[in-house]
Amino acid sequence: MEHTKGKNDFTALGKRMPRTEDHRLLTGHGRYIDDIDVPGALHACFIRSPYAHASILSINSTEAEDMPGVIGIFTGKDLAEWTTSLRMAPSIEGVKPVEMTTLPIDKVRFHGDLVACIVATDRYIAEDALELVEVDYEPLDPVTNMFKAQDAGSALVDETLDTNLVSHQTFATPDVEKVMAGTDRMIETNFSEHRQTHLPIETRGIIAEWDAGREHLRIHVGTQAAHPYRTAIAGRMKLSESQVTVISPDVGGGFGQKIALYREELTVAALARHLKCAVRWREDRFENLLAASHAREDWVRTRAAVDENGKLKALSLEIVEDFGGYCFYPANYLARVIAMILSGPYKLDHYAFDVKVVLTNKCGNGPMRAPMAITSWIMEGTMDAIARDLNLDPVDVRRINMIREDEFPYQMASGETLEDINPFETMEKGLSIIGYEELRSAQAADRERGIYRGIGICNVVESTTYGSKFYKSAGIPGSGHESAWVKIEPSGAVRGAVGISATGQGYETAFAQAIAEGLGVDPLEVKIEIGNTDIAPYGMGSRGARGGTAGGGTAYLAGLEAQKKVLAIAAKMLALNTADQLCMKEGKVWRCIKDDWTETELTLADIARTAYLDPTKLPDGMEPGLEVHKAYDPPPMTYSNSSHFCQVSVNINTGEVTFDRYLIVENCGTVINPLIVEGQQHGATIMGISGTLFEHVVYDENGQNLTGSLADYLIPTAADVPELEIVHMHTPNKRTPAGIKGMAEGGVMGAIGAVSNAVSDALAPFGITIDKHPITPDALRALLRNKS
């Protein structure tokens, strides 16, 4: 593979250019789902369960159906006639097969679960009708605790299984037990990560239009993965993929929530076909908080065998994850990755894991930005625990365990290979910037005065991209490839498309830069079209920080391929035997004569005109036109790394945590657009801080969700977050196009670990270690009260 042009340094890649998509969004002309006007569209709304676990005995909708403007009320039995169930039965050891109908028929599994769908001429009328439907439930025992859920006598969330333990997988390197048994020091650490939700500011929504004449379904939906979504909905409606168009217009955030085909969306699409018209649905915020998708509820324990210097000899990991009531993804999908990449930047030869995933009567879980984020908190919390136990400086424990430059590529105990990262360098750089030694002295002096400040360090190795081989080896179904096309129109206008869909990441700008770099034109001359399955080629969508390497990398390769064809035509037009001494730059053909590059008179427009309108002048055997298609499957995994340094002050009287400084030293390889990359790093880091300090989906013991508004489910405001300083130490990946690595999740990972460790460090004089999130003022006060 040609990784770099070789003739020039990058000009379009790395350019700090403002985004081209901004214009419509700054002027109120974006087109999100609700902005799309479909005359005559009917409105759907859903009846949802007030119980966590209950049998549906009967649904009486007569009065509602008689309301003017109500078209009909549809139940699980109706939908079962029009759609197939979702069967999740990957052939993975330890993962139990499960199946769910489009709407529940006999029982509901969580507070907010679906019961029926109302269709009316207006959203207000649909919601009025909702009040008139009488549903008779018989409440069942709610399963709300992932440990008790595993008890023999527990009620079953899914009666087709004989247990709530839906996935259980273990792994051990050959000698791990022997090394564990032979150790003097075993350090046990717990981590409890609470339930969260993605909270895109635009909730879910869909418009489905059935063209009864053409028998074609057109869907507007905010999705991160338009093509897999189309495959899924076509399959569930027994349509051919060629009968379905999925269009994902401007999307108001996704963060992992907009990947799966949800039951509400499938219901709306099926009703559009049944009613032979357009049906639309806009989720309200209450529904979004209760029933869209949740994420992250894990309990973790590590046992670290160490020597007297704090050197890690062996590590075992236990995870129990609460997956909620339904599997929209294979149950091992999230926890398994945590286990596979756990050790991050640290050397570890002997390793074992035990990963259990449990069904409960809560909203189903899915991937949320950095689903493996807890790895950083686990490893860095374990490093701090080792330092506390042995009375060592936490930095020294990290130094002694960290993989050094000359040890890469490094094969982790789980079998994954780390390469082209520099965690030791980013850590040392950050330590010197913050003046670590001086901070420790100042901290001691502050403590004398009753001021409790803490320093938290978190070294992140961020798994990015996820190529097909990783999915295969992790036992997760799916592909990691991406595809793109470049079309140069007869006038020389350049269009590009990539299969991935955007939810705010600036792909239109970044992919224009990538194609421009490959082709040799100005990025502003490249128009990118994404999110429409009729236009963009089949790709696997936006997730797992794959936009840069898979999306941008494929776009770059497509640009290079287009340049190759352009130059072959140019060579013929210039009467040269070969294009070896030609290149494209700013839309013009350049020629090298005796190491000297000069501009020729040929432009991209000249070549395009020839390709389309004068094809007899093309090289022998070349097809007319100027279009290329490229697909690319990245390496099994690419890795970026960073070191986060967080300084906090804890007010021991109020439990308030305030930030004194937040520094990130990072390496994400070749950067497509520094402005966009920094924006992603800001967003990810603040999302990590938010999860650690603020957000919490709370269920009571009956399975009632107590956080159904933004006054209850908190995310930070501008007044709550620190200013982030970011220092770059980029080294390219040697195996990816242009050396791109990806980076949009590492900030979450770094923040979770750095903030937790900083608060623990601040409260060390009280013997308090944070082992549970979120670290709210109430939680801290409770810890402090118990200690005093």
């Binding site: 214009h23 700054l26 002309h29 500011i201 635009e202 600036g506 800001h682 999302m687 933004l710």
Partner: protein, 165 residues
Amino acid sequence: MKKVAITLNINNRDVDMLVEPRKLLSDAIREDARLTGTHVGCEHGVCGACTVLVDGKPQRSCLTFAVQTQGKAITTIEAVKGNNDGYSALQQALHEEHGLQCGFCTPGIIVTFEAYLKENTNPTEDEIRDVLSGNLCRCTGYQNIIRAIQKAAAVMRGETPGAAK
């Protein structure tokens, strides 16, 4: 519910509409006036995405009934612009400083600060953070929005803003 005929003045234009008294201003602006730049993020007054100006003051259009705003001047994102129909200083600064990602919360932030920067031409960073706390953004972490507001304020004061902080 019986509909009533009302006239709303939106962006200096009178719009006649027939609405139920319970119709939210946000829905009237979006559905009846067909101005979809005002976004609805929570429908309970927390996220701030639906903020519009009513007689020059920021107001949550999802907590306001359309009928309440007859006779008042409503300003939405579609009316925000600079000289020669280009960007306002704030729009320009948000563009340059990458102060938006998905863009869904952006209109609410812009109209809030178009009003605030007229009231306080030289806000401190703390004041900006305080006012911005009425608008939730899930993408940016707020940092670039704050930079952009500082930059726009400087431009509006006639200063040449230095390099971004």
